[in-house]
Symmetry: D3
Subunit: 115 residues, 6 copies
């Protein structure tokens, strides 16, 4: 994995540990629920990750987008599927999402080069 995504994952892991070790049961349970809702059910994980990705795009959170871009890549989302999903986010959320779209494609490019 390229450095920028590795750094992202390292910081994410380290701080999640600190937050979960703060000993607040509600926060720990929230993190568990947040993990659980992407598990396969009536909808597959691939569809759910695209739902998470597009939600993150319209709410414009770079780290959330990067996380779901990595997960979409792991779940085998194709270039065309990714573009169509992000396109819905762009139309719903407008041109204010374009800088986030650029960084989403940058992360996607890094993941593809690594393969």
């Amino acid at each position: 994995m390229t450095d920028s995504l590795a750094d992202f994952n390292a910081f994410r892991g380290r701080m999640n540990d600190i937050i979960l070790n703060a000993g607040n049961l509600t926060i720990s349970r929230f993190f568990a629920l947040d993990h659980r809702c992407y598990e396969p059910g009536a909808l597959g994980t691939k569809t759910k990750e695209m739902l998470g990705l597009v939600s993150s795009l319209v709410l414009r959170c770079d780290d959330c987008i990067t996380y779901h871009i990595i997960r979409c890549h792991e779940e085998g989302v194709t270039d065309e599927e990714l573009t169509e999903a992000l396109n819905i986010g762009l139309l719903v959320g407008g041109s204010i999402t374009i800088p986030y779209l650029r960084r989403a494609y940058k992360a996607w490019e890094e993941l593809k080069e690594r393969k």
Copy 2:
């Protein structure tokens, strides 16, 4: 269709006509693009409508949620699929989305009673 959804559709249709008749080419083209991005491609329309629905939930727009709830119903989304999709929106967007979730389920109930 129950009265509240019929009223929604009537107002939506009437005002869209006024907006499109305002003669601004960029607005008309935006409306056309917004329609086009939900057409089937690498992703099916059913998946795309769920992407539109969850984006609308996290951005908390009642009319957009109602529109996509109607479209999801037309595309054959099941109760379980709807609930799993909305659940992702709830986790991503937090408890601030709960009032919108209530109204989403109310529209869904109306659509099912009508069938």
Copy 3:
């Protein structure tokens, strides 16, 4: 309680039942966590309800504001405390919050008249 707040509570209760009866475990647990995080701990419930109120004001959700206004009233928040808390929301969130502030004060007035 005045009619508008009674209607609010009735719709809230009825739809919460429908959502919780949809049988999705993650949604039910989210609702439970959302309830739990306002229980007294290192911070008292009164402070926590004001935190929920101001968060709801800056995110501009009328139903969430109404809910926390009712809870603040039950917890004995005074007029002065309410105004200082809402003032922080107004400064943080800007003039776009003013219509929500008006409706917050309307609900507060209704609660005080009822007493």
Copy 4:
């Protein structure tokens, strides 16, 4: 003025009085600043009201949009100017703004019928 806009103005005036009479100096001063920033300076009031309108559209607040639509009408904004300004808000803010755009045009129609 049509009933819906008259109702809007009546509620706005009544609640503003209650808020300003709550005796909090910071809130009163914020309301004064909010009024002051639309007064003519290097930019004219007409341009400033369009800035307020488009900000309100992308933040999706119906009451703020209605207020600035009324003010734009008073300042002599033309149909074409209004449409071009709202179009920028639509492109920046995306399709999630469309329901707000519909209600903006409805208020504009009411103002024009009244003239």
Copy 5:
């Protein structure tokens, strides 16, 4: 142009090429519309760029703000006009916009030093 703005433009150009080369017609057309809506019409480009700037400030997107700051500079917006426009964004959007306002002024300073 100073390094930080040159870097901004280089990354923007490179990623836009990747996005437009992804071959999705709706995305390309959206980018074209987004460009088109700032062209002169009933409102001049200078006014339109200020509308884009203030929208970007209240939605708090640094890259969008930087882009419109550069465009406002090119269109001859004066210091006083810029400050009055940004002030409206500050009042509408509240103190949460202040960090973005700081970075807007930093970009503006860089553009003026370069002249």
Copy 6:
């Protein structure tokens, strides 16, 4: 204070000077009001700073969060109080706030190491 927080404060101070020296009376007064609303009144400054912190978390502004984290530390907020306050922001604002929560805890760790 660690370097990252010192850099934050230095940039904040330098740009605030530039903004306040731009000579716009409304902006200066807004900054004064924004300072004033955290002064002790019916609510103490410690409670007010937690209100500012949670508002900043749900609106997802890193710099605002950092500022209020520093102020909460100065006002003697304990680890448990901080965690309970942030937990409310997490529940209200959803998983989209998690990256901001991580950076909030990082700043808190830096402040505690420095003590």
